[in-house]
Structures are given as structure tokens and as C-alpha cells.
């Protein structure tokens, strides 16, 4: 195997029809990280938030009830698996699908909570995520139109043209909105006030890992040299 992506020696790839998974050290590290955290989420209890009561000397305990726990844990595991998939896919379209799935389940994880502020934040994040779908898929489509391929292993050998740069910008906008990173973080941070630490972890994990992956993808598409 003599394919080098951003200085990383490709250790191998798994062709599953049009789903090509590629194995490079960075991708494997992030894939393993996502799976490790997903396993941890699957086996963990949630914490109990203890807050001082107003007008009384007693404490308020905020817990996650059983029904809420089940659905949020299921969605968190789906999010973890989607993140793991986004880390090692070598196909741009599959990457956008995984990112889209991450956006949907992120909203689901917090929308099961019965706290008005948190639901407001989830609603606003949902709007941003829905709007971001257009540039996300539009960017991937433009890159396909200008290169004739969605495979990163093919695109790495195609010289960059103006349409690929424009497609990349759209792709980045789509991922930023879908994962709720800056400048959309202010909305998303409010969602973290709810109890359910293991489930909230996956929201943060998926955002940051997808951002690193998209940087890798953008550098593969836009070769400055």
C-alpha cells in the first residue's frame, strides 16, 4: 500500500461496494476514540444534579427518569456509531450522510428532556442544522460534479479547481451548522445544562471529531501545493 494522505501512510482500505473505509493513523485513532466513548455511554448510569433550593434549606435533585434514559441512551449510541463511521469513511457522500445523522440524533438526545430552556436551545440548534443540510449536500454535489468522483482516494490525485474550492466552502458551512460549532456554539452550549452527562458527551465528541475530519477532507480536496 503506497498511498499517502497528508503525510499519513494509508494502512489499508475496506471496499464495501461504494462505501470505502480507509485506515490511516488519524482516522483509526478517532474511530477507536468514538467507539470507546460509545461503549462507556452504553454501560453508564446518569448523574444526579444537586442544586440548592430557593427559599428553603433543602436541596433539589434533578434526575433522568427511566423512559427518558432509555431513549436518550439509544440515540447517544446511534450518534457514537455515526461519528465512528464519519471518521473512517473514504467517501464524501457517506461522510455527509453520517454528519446529517449526527445532527438529527443530537437534537433527539436533548429533545427528550422536559426543561424549557434546554428545549428552546435544541429547537434553535435544530433550525440551524436543518438549514445547514442544503450547503452540506450541495457542497458534496459540486465536488462530485467537478471531479467526477466522491472517493477521497481519487480526489486526492485530482488538481484543485475553483469549483472544488467553492464546493469545499459550502461543505464546511454545512458541517459547521450541522455540528453546531462556532458561531453556533452559543445556542448549543445551553443544551449542556441538562442532566445526563454520558449522553451530552457524545454531542460534544461528535462535533469536535467531525470538525477535525472535515479539516482533513478539505485539505485532501484543496491541495495548496
Amino acid at each position: 500500500m503506497d498511498i499517502i494522505l497528508l503525510g499519513q501512510q494509508l494502512l489499508g482500505y475496506i471496499p464495501l461496494g461504494d462505501i470505502v473505509l480507509y485506515l490511516a493513523p488519524l482516522n483509526l485513532f478517532m474511530f477507536a476514540g468514538s467507539l470507546a466513548f460509545t461503549t462507556l455511554i452504553a454501560i453508564s448510569r446518569t448523574e444526579t444534579q444537586v442544586e440548592a433550593g430557593i427559599g428553603t434549606l433543602k436541596d433539589n435533585e434533578v434526575k433522568v427518569n427511566k423512559d427518558e434514559f432509555k431513549i436518550r441512551r439509544f440515540l447517544a449510541i446511534v450518534c457514537g456509531l455515526a461519528t465512528a463511521g464519519a471518521m473512517i469513511t473514504g467517501d464524501l457522500f457517506n461522510f455527509t450522510l453520517f454528519v446529517c445523522l449526527i445532527g438529527i440524533v443530537n437534537i433527539g438526545i436533548v429533545s427528550a428532556v422536559k426543561q424549557i430552556d434546554v428545549l428552546d436551545a435544541a429547537f434553535q440548534y435544530g433550525l440551524v442544522a436543518m438549514i445547514a443540510v442544503l450547503p452540506l449536500f450541495g457542497g458534496a454535489a459540486m465536488i462530485l460534479a467537478s471531479t467526477g468522483s466522491l472517493s477521497m482516494l481519487e480526489i486526492v490525485n485530482i488538481p484543485t479547481n475553483a469549483m472544488m474550492i467553492f464546493g469545499s466552502l459550502l461543505l464546511f458551512l454545512g458541517v459547521a451548522g450541522e455540528t453546531g460549532v462556532a458561531p453556533f456554539y452559543a445556542t448549543k452550549a445551553e443544551m449542556f445544562r441538562t442532566p445526563g452527562s454520558p449522553f451530552l458527551l457524545i454531542i460534544h465528541l461528535s462535533s469536535l471529531l467531525v470538525i477535525i475530519r472535515v479539516i482533513e477532507i478539505l485539505l485532501i480536496i484543496n491541495k495548496p501545493f
Binding site: L6, G7, Q8, P25, L26, F29, M30, G33, A36, F37, L40, I41, I43, S44, R45, T46, E47, T48, Q49, V50, E51, A52, E61, V181, A182, P183, Y185, A186, K188, A189, F192, R193, P195, S197, P198, L200, L201, H204, L205, L208, L209, I211, I212, I215, E216, L219, P224, F225
Partner: protein
């Protein structure tokens, strides 16, 4: 294996002593005698022999595993950095996971102080991650993401700190944000006791402190390596001491910022740094 163990041990010891040095310098500036330079190291070792207790409100086993995870990722950083001189992008990924662990170490205990630290960690990620994106500028300049190739590039073309100074300044702001008592240390501000560490006792606190020392060493190592070049161990030590002294001066003379001000200031640095560096690269 011996090489990895040796490097991890060096990272832990040097990082701990540099933290101690920082506290000493800060104390002297503030006209206090301050603790001994090895205080942070002693403090860390002390926690390993203290009794461990766990809050009954904690999310088990998540609460315990998250501290072990912090240790594992920074040991991985030592392997990617000083041991193998691997990919900068991988160090970027490790830093991102560090942010996640910092966030969840706080929220998993159930303590309101930990929870506030967790929300602040999410906010601060929006400012720190763009600062870490300085590594992309290094890629544009050198054409490589591999640390050994960046060292070779600098051996031929001179240190990067001269050609992309704004990127170096941005990375320094990132280092500053990870220092205790810094104006940007909002996740561990004293208004929220010890932030995400508030409910971690005994062995778990020992692991957290050990990871912080390794993280500090690694951030300084990355700065020196990618902006100045491959140095001898003695010059690495001199460089790390110099950076820690500068950070101590800043920390001793500036108050901790409010979370919003901290984020706005870091984002401003990031915008100026990224745009300025790109302009410098074009000319």
C-alpha cells in the same frame, strides 16, 4: 516501550516542576513567599496515596473512566509527539478529546460547580479550537503535517516563528488558556471552586493532575518544535522554562476574565491571527 515510558516520565516530571515554578514566580510578583517549586509534583504524588471517595450522585462508571481517559490521551500525545514525531493533525485530535474529557469530568459528578465548569468548557472549545487551527497554517507554509518533516523544513528555511509570527502568537494564547490562574482559565475559575476537579478526590485527582502536567509539557513541546525546530534536550528545557516564566508574569498581573469576555478575546485573537497569517503567507 522503554522510550515511551521514559518520555512519559520526563513529561510528567518536567510539567509538574514547571507548574511549581509558575506558582513560585506568581507568588514573588505578588510579594508572597509562595510554595516550593516542587509543590505541584508533591501534591500530585500525595493524591495517589490518599483515600479515594466517590460522590453518590456521580454517573458511574463514566465518572471514573473519564479521568483514566484523560491520562490515556495525553500519554498518546507523548507517543505521537516526542517519541514518533508523527502527525500534527493527530495531536489536534488528541486536544479535541481533551476538551471533551474536561467537559465531562465536570458534569459527571453531579456537582453544580462541575456542571458550570462543563458549560464553560463547551463555550471555551469554541475559542480554543480555532486557536489550535493554527496547525493548518503550518501545513500551508510547510506542505506537511508530519512533525519530523516540519523540523527538517525549519532546518533548511529557518524557524517558522519568523515567517508566521501571528500563528505562533495564536498558539501561545492557547498555551496561556491552559495555564492555571490564567485570564482565560474559566473552566477552573475560583468562583466555581476547582471547576471540573471539584468532586474528584484521591487517586482520581492524582490522575487529573498528572495528565495536566503531561498536557502542559506537550503544549510547550509542540510550540517549540513547530515554531523553532528540533532542539537538544537542554534547549527544550530552557525554552519551556522561558515560556512558563512569561505565562507566570501574565497570570500574576491579570485577573481572570468573565467567560464571555474570555471567549470574545480568544476569538478576536483567532480571527486576527488566522486572517493575518493567511495574508503573510500570500505575500
Amino acid at each position: 516501550m522503554a522510550n515511551i515510558l521514559l518520555n512519559v516520565l520526563i513529561a510528567f516530571l518536567v510539567g509538574s516542576v514547571l507548574f511549581g515554578l509558575q506558582r513560585k514566580i506568581m507568588a514573588r510578583i505578588q510579594m508572597r513567599p509562595g510554595p516550593p517549586v516542587i509543590q505541584h509534583l508533591l501534591h500530585t504524588l500525595k493524591f495517589f496515596i490518599k483515600e479515594s471517595s466517590f460522590p453518590k450522585t456521580a454517573a458511574m462508571p463514566f465518572y471514573i473512566a473519564i479521568t483514566a481517559m484523560l491520562c490515556v490521551i495525553w500519554v498518546s500525545a507523548v507517543i505521537v509527539g516526542p517519541v514518533t514525531e508523527g502527525s500534527l493533525l493527530l495531536i489536534f485530535a488528541i486536544y479535541a478529546i481533551h476538551k471533551i474529557v474536561e467537559h465531562n469530568a465536570g458534569s459527571s459528578s453531579g456537582s453544580p460547580y462541575g456542571k458550570l465548569s462543563c458549560v464553560r468548557a463547551v463555550f471555551s472549545a469554541s475559542a480554543e479550537v480555532p486557536l489550535f487551527a493554527v496547525l493548518i497554517i503550518i501545513y500551508f507554509k510547510t506542505g506537511t503535517m508530519v512533525i519530523s518533516n516540519i523540523i527538517n523544513f525549519q532546518a533548511t528555511n529557518g524557524p517558522l516563528i519568523y515567517s508566521i509570527p501571528l500563528a505562533a502568537a495564536m498558539f501561545f494564547v492557547l498555551i496561556l488558556s491552559k495555564a492555571p490562574y490564567s485570564p482565560f482559565a474559566i473552566t477552573k475559575g475560583k468562583d466555581i471552586i476547582s471547576g471540573y476537579e471539584t468532586e474528584h478526590f484521591g487517586l482520581l485527582r492524582g490522575y487529573l493532575m498528572m495528565s495536566e502536567s503531561i498536557a502542559w509539557y506537550m503544549l510547550l513541546w509542540v510550540f517549540l518544535t513547530v515554531f523553532i525546530g528540533g532542539l537538544s534536550p537542554l534547549w527544550y528545557l530552557v525554552g519551556m522554562v522561558c515560556l512558563s516564566v512569561i505565562v507566570a508574569f501574565i497570570n500574576a498581573t491579570t485577573p481572570i476574565l468573565s467567560p464571555n469576555h474570555s471567549i470574545m478575546m480568544q476569538v478576536s485573537f483567532a480571527i486576527v491571527g488566522i486572517v493575518g497569517s493567511l495574508v503573510l503567507l500570500l505575500y
